[in-house]
C-alpha cells in the first residue's frame, strides 16, 4: 500500500528535478557563452554544461546549488547572523504565528456572534463573503508604512496583516461549522429544554471542530503569505520576504531560491502541525481516523 503511494510521487519528483537540470543548462547557457567570449575562453560542450551549473548568479540555479546554499545558510551560520535562514525564518514564523493566533480567536468570536445575533449575521456576513473575493493582500504595504509612520514597526504590523488574512477563512468555516448540527439534533436539545449555552457547548461546538481545523489549515497558509508579503515594503530588514527582496535587488538568485525553499518548509511544517493537532483532537473526540 505504502509503496504504491510513495513510488509515483518519487517518480514525479525525480522527473521534475531532471527537467530542472536540463532547463538550468539551457537557461544559463547564453549568459555563460557571453562570459566565455568576453574572457576569450573556448569551452567544449561538456565544460559549458558544467559551468552553467556553477554560476554565481544563474538565471535558474541547479537544484544542488540551491540545496548547498540552503544547507549552508540553515545549519552552518550563527543563528544571530542576518544571513542565517533559521534567523530569517524565525522572524517570519513569529509574526505568522502571532497573526494566526489573533486571527483564529477573532474569527471564532465573530462567527459566534454571527450565529447568535440575527442582525449581525444579516449585516456582516455578506461583507465577509464579499471580502473573500477582494485582493486583500494589496493593503499590506500600506499597513506597514502607515503603522511605521506612527512608530509601530517590527512584528506587530506584519502580524496584523496575517491576522487580517487568517480571520476570514476561520469566520466562514466556523459559521458553517456552528450551523452544521442537523435540525434533528437541535430539536433533541430543545426537547431537553437545554439553554442556549448548553446547546452551544454540547452540540454546536463539537460539531464545528472539523470545520474549524479545515479552515485553520487554509488560515495558517494565508497567514504565512501575509507575513512574507508584509516584509516586502521598505523597512523590513529580516524575514523570508526581506530575503527575497534583497535577493531581487542584487540578482542573488541562489539566495532567493533558498529563501523560497525555507518558506515552503515553513508552510509545510505549519500545515502539518495543524493537521497533527486536528488528528489528535479528532481521536480524542472519538472520531474515526480518516
Amino acid at each position: 500500500m505504502l509503496k504504491s503511494r510513495i513510488f509515483p510521487v518519487l517518480a514525479v519528483v525525480a522527473a521534475i528535478v531532471a527537467i530542472w537540470y536540463v532547463a538550468a543548462v539551457f537557461m544559463n547557457a547564453p549568459v555563460q557563452r557571453d562570459m566565455d567570449k568576453r574572457a576569450g575562453v573556448t569551452s567544449t560542450t561538456w565544460q559549458l554544461v558544467e559551468k552553467t551549473m556553477s554560476q554565481a548568479k544563474p538565471t535558474l540555479p541547479a537544484p544542488h546549488q540551491i540545496a548547498v546554499n540552503f544547507f549552508e545558510n540553515t545549519f552552518q551560520r550563527k543563528l544571530t547572523s542576518n544571513r542565517s535562514l533559521v534567523y530569517n525564518g524565525w522572524v517570519t514564523l513569529s509574526s505568522t504565528l502571532a497573526g494566526f493566533a489573533f486571527g483564529t480567536v477573532l474569527g471564532i468570536a465573530i462567527a459566534v456572534g454571527i450565529v447568535h445575533v440575527k442582525s449581525l449575521e444579516r449585516s456582516l456576513m455578506p461583507w465577509i463573503i464579499a471580502s473573500q473575493t477582494v485582493p486583500i493582500l494589496a493593503i499590506a504595504p500600506m499597513v506597514i508604512v502607515v503603522l511605521g509612520a506612527i512608530n509601530i514597526t517590527g512584528l506587530v504590523p506584519k502580524a496584523l496583516i496575517s491576522t487580517y488574512l487568517s480571520f476570514f477563512p476561520v469566520t466562514v468555516g466556523m459559521v458553517k461549522g456552528l450551523r452544521s448540527p442537523e435540525a434533528m439534533h437541535l430539536d433533541l436539545m430543545q426537547t431537553y429544554n437545554a439553554s442556549l449555552g448548553q446547546t452551544f457547548w454540547k452540540l454546536r461546538v463539537p460539531a464545528s471542530v472539523p470545520y474549524l481545523f479545515t479552515s485553520m489549515k487554509v488560515a495558517i497558509a494565508a497567514s504565512l503569505v501575509g507575513a512574507i508579503v508584509g516584509e516586502l515594503p521598505t523597512g523590513a530588514v529580516a524575514g523570508i520576504g526581506a530575503k527575497l527582496l534583497a535577493g531581487s535587488y542584487y540578482s542573488q538568485t541562489v539566495d532567493m531560491w533558498a529563501a523560497l525553499v525555507m518558506g515552503s518548509v515553513l508552510a509545510a511544517l505549519l500545515v502539518f502541525s495543524v493537521d497533527i493537532v486536528s488528528r489528535v483532537v479528532n481521536r480524542m473526540m472519538g472520531g474515526r481516523p480518516a
Partner: protein, 375 residues
Amino acid sequence: MSMLLRSWQAVAAVILTVLALIRLPMFGDGATTPPGNATLAIVVILALIGAFSALLVSKRQAVAAILFVTAHAGAWLLFSALLGNEGQARAPFFLLIAALWLLAWACVTQLSALRPESREAATLVRLLIPAIFGAWVLILWEAATRGFGIPFILLPPPSAIGARIANSLPVLAADVRQTIFKAVLFGYVVGSGAGFVVAILADRVDFLRRGLLPIGNFVSALPIIGIAPIMVIWFGFDWQSKAAVVIIMTFFPMLVNTVAGLTAAGHMERDLMRTYASNYWQTLFKLRLPAAMPFIFNALKINSTLALIGAIVAEFFGTPIVGMGFRISTEIGRLNLDMVWAEIAVAALAGSVFYGAVALAERATTFWHPSIRGG
C-alpha cells in the same frame, strides 16, 4: 418598563443625546465656521424622534422607515456642520454620531426581524441590511478622521478617497488595463487551462495521478507568491512576468480540484455508461465533466482572487510606470494615501466583478446542482 425593553439601542441613543446636550458646544474654539443652533436642534430632534418611534410605534415597517430616515438625515446634517471645522469636534459631536449609529443599528434589528411577503421586498431587505452596515462603516470612518483631524497620511476620510477616484479616472483605467486586462486575464486563462489539461492527462494515466495529486496538494499550501521576484528577473518588468506568476498560482488549484471533480460521478452513473458500451471520451464528456463542473468552478472562483493578488504583489517587485501594484507601492512612498486607497477600492471592485462574473457563469452551468437550485 416593557416599553424601554423594546429597543435598548433607542434607550441608549436618548441617553447619549442628553449627554451631548449637557456638554455643549459641539466644536472647540478653533472652529472657523461653527454651525448655528438650528442645525444642532434639528439633529437632536431627529435623534429623539427616531428613538421614541422605536419605543412607541409597534408597526415594524414604520419604525424601520423612521429610523432609516432620522439616522441618515442626522448624520448628513452633522457632516455639513463639520465642514470647515475639521479637527475641532468635541465630545457632543461624537456622542450624537454614536446616538445616530445606535438608531441605525436599531433599524437593522427591525429590518432583520421583518418577514416580507413578496420576493422583491425580501431581496430589497436582504440587500439593504448589509448596505446600511457598509454605509455606517464609512460614516464612522469619516466622522473619526475629520472630527479628530487625523492626519491625512495616516487615514484619509472616505470622501477624500471618493474625490480622488473621481479625479483620477484615466490613471486608474490605465492601471486596470495593464494589471487586469493584460496580466491577470492572460495568466488566469492559461494557468487554469493548463491545470485542466494536466488534470485530464492525470486522469488517463493513473500513475501520473497518484504522483501529481499529493504534490499538487502540497504546492497549493506553499507561499507561491514568493516566486514573483524570480519571474520579474526572467521575464522582465512588463506584464509577462506578472502573467507568469498568475499562471503558476492558478495552475495547482485547478489541477487538484479537477482531479477531485472527475471522481465525483457516482458508481451507478458510471455503470450506466458502461451498459451503453460508452468509450472513455463519451463517458468523460457526457458524464464525468458535467459532474465535475461544481469542482471546476470552485477552482475558477479561488483562482479569480489568487490571480489578482499574484499580479498586484508581483508588481511590487518592479513594473513599467503603470499598473495597480506599481501605483500602490509608489504612492505609498510619496505618502499619497488617498491614491493608495483609491487603487485599493478599484482592486476590490475589480475582484468582486471578476468573482461575480465567474459565479454567474457557474449558476448558468451548474443550475442542476442542489446548492444552486436550492433543494
